[in-house]
């Protein structure tokens, strides 16, 4: 479904990604791991067309490099930014409405599905999103992207700073997303959730993919974990 080949990205003059390659198959959950600053977030931003890049990003066979961000989104790629980038002055409902790409197009997710998955969002539908708790905001960013009916959703650090109970809820949502046939590319720093839910994992270091394998491969390779993941 998603094939990234030889992806190079730049912030101004600094060269951030050095030939990244990765694949995500239909309905697959794939994680991209690595320490802070190795280029994980930049990789998904480059896929979305949010940073200058060279190389190839094929989604369902079509080249994405060179398209504008909104065009990439319209092809079916969803992006959930880190730091809970909600629209603080708009209500929860309005945030979700903005997730829809047009007023007419409705996909496999309806507003009520979101409220069912996260009753808190339903209860606070008319509250300004800025006053929600961190966990609620994280759910809102996820749900907002799902409202746009993506076929592959890229999620940046969804569990950062969340209470363990909320992390469980988020993991539950990933299961729900997979059930509906949507692929996930998950960017994480922590191993725990990624090892539990992913089918395959990539590890990044210095702007490159330094390891790829199954959760079992990661568990068994202590040397790799020590070199590239553990802090």
């Amino acid at each position: 479904m998603l094939e990234v080949r030889d992806l190079n990205a730049y912030y101004g003059k600094s060269h951030i990604l050095h030939g990244v390659h990765l694949d995500v198959g239909d309905g697959e959950i794939v994680s991209l791991l690595g320490r802070n600053g190795v280029g994980r977030s930049t990789t998904i931003k480059a896929i979305m067309g949010m940073v200058d890049c060279q190389g190839s990003v094929k989604f369902k066979g079509d080249e994405m490099v060179g398209l504008k961000t909104y065009q990439v989104a319209h092809r079916g790629l969803g992006y959930v930014p880190e730091n809970r980038d909600i629209f603080p002055t708009l209500t929860v409902r309005q945030n979700l409405l903005l997730g829809q790409k047009s007023a007419r197009r409705t996909g496999r997710w309806k507003m009520d599905d979101m409220y069912e998955l996260f009753p808190r969002l339903g209860e606070r539908a008319d509250t300004q999103a800025g006053v929600l708790s961190g966990g609620e905001q994280q759910m809102l960013t996820l749900c907002r992207t799902l409202m746009g009916d993506p076929e592959l959703v890229m999620i940046d650090e969804p569990t950062e700073g969340l209470a363990p109970k909320i992390v469980e809820q988020v993991a539950g949502l990933f299961e729900e997303i997979r059930k509906r046939g949507i692929s996930i590319l998950l960017v994480e720093q922590k191993l725990a959730i990624a090892l539990d839910i992913s089918e395959r994992l990539y590890v990044m270091g210095h702007g490159q993919i330094v390891f790829e394998g199954t959760p079992r491969d990661v568990r068994e390779n202590a040397a790799m974990r020590k070199e590239w993941l553990e802090v």
Partner: protein
Amino acid sequence: MEFFLISLLNGVSYGLLLFMLSSGLTLIFSMMGVLNFAHASFYMIGAYLAYTLGLKLGFFPALFLAPILTGLFGALIERFGLRKVHRYGHVAELLFTFGLAYLIEESVKVIWGLASMPYRIPAVLDGPLFTLYTTSFPKFRGFMMLVALAMLFSVYLLLMRTRIGLVIQAALTHPQTVEALGHNVPRVFMLVFGGGTALAGLAGVIGGAAFITEPSMAASVGPIVFVVAVVGGMGSLAGAFLASLLIGIVQTFAIALDWSLAGMLAAVGIGVTESTPLYSLWKLQLSQVAPVLPYLLLVLMLIFRPKGLLGTRAD
């Protein structure tokens, strides 16, 4: 009492005109970060277009058409000018709009000439609306207030009650996130720039008829529009509304008052005569310094409250 009420009405109507002018500037700035130096030039274009169209079609069709044409021109400027300059940063954008203001002024001189246009208030709106004690309040001033309030209401509905309004509100602060959700943010920017310049055009249709339509009209209102935007708070429409009324009222009252420091000192028993040092300063009347007051407010605001009355961004 009569003086107070009439001055208040005049102040409010002038303030509402200022709001029509500055709301577009505020919208454009808050969304795109572009400080549009040429904003008042679109006000001038609105006035000239309304005059020219009005000759053939009459005032009321021109009232609708001139802002639309001004807005289309603004949208073209954004699409083929500003958007290209955008990648070089805000300073380049500022210089671009600065140059644009001159270009528009010179073009107006070439097309319409140096003299002022005989653009007048239409007969139906000429004359007094009502008489308060002994002073009459002109119909056109009332019309000006009506148009400004209708505009305020429409902009409010558009921003708060429509889907495109939601996209605009969200893109004000999070353009990248909005675009990643699949919204064509560059097109939204073009619409906002076009819409903002159309509002300036509308103010021009009204202001041109109420005051004077000449090539220097942009330069004469340009600075005051910036004062409104800064005092209200860059990026806040509600702030621009408050600041417009405040400046409108302050200026109207100041022009009509002959208070001076010398007079105030005399009232508390301190005499100021020609032999007092700095006599010319003491005897300056409020009406004489009225034109400076908005800029004094601007400078004080920037020193003591740089984000303005209701502004959200300090950068």
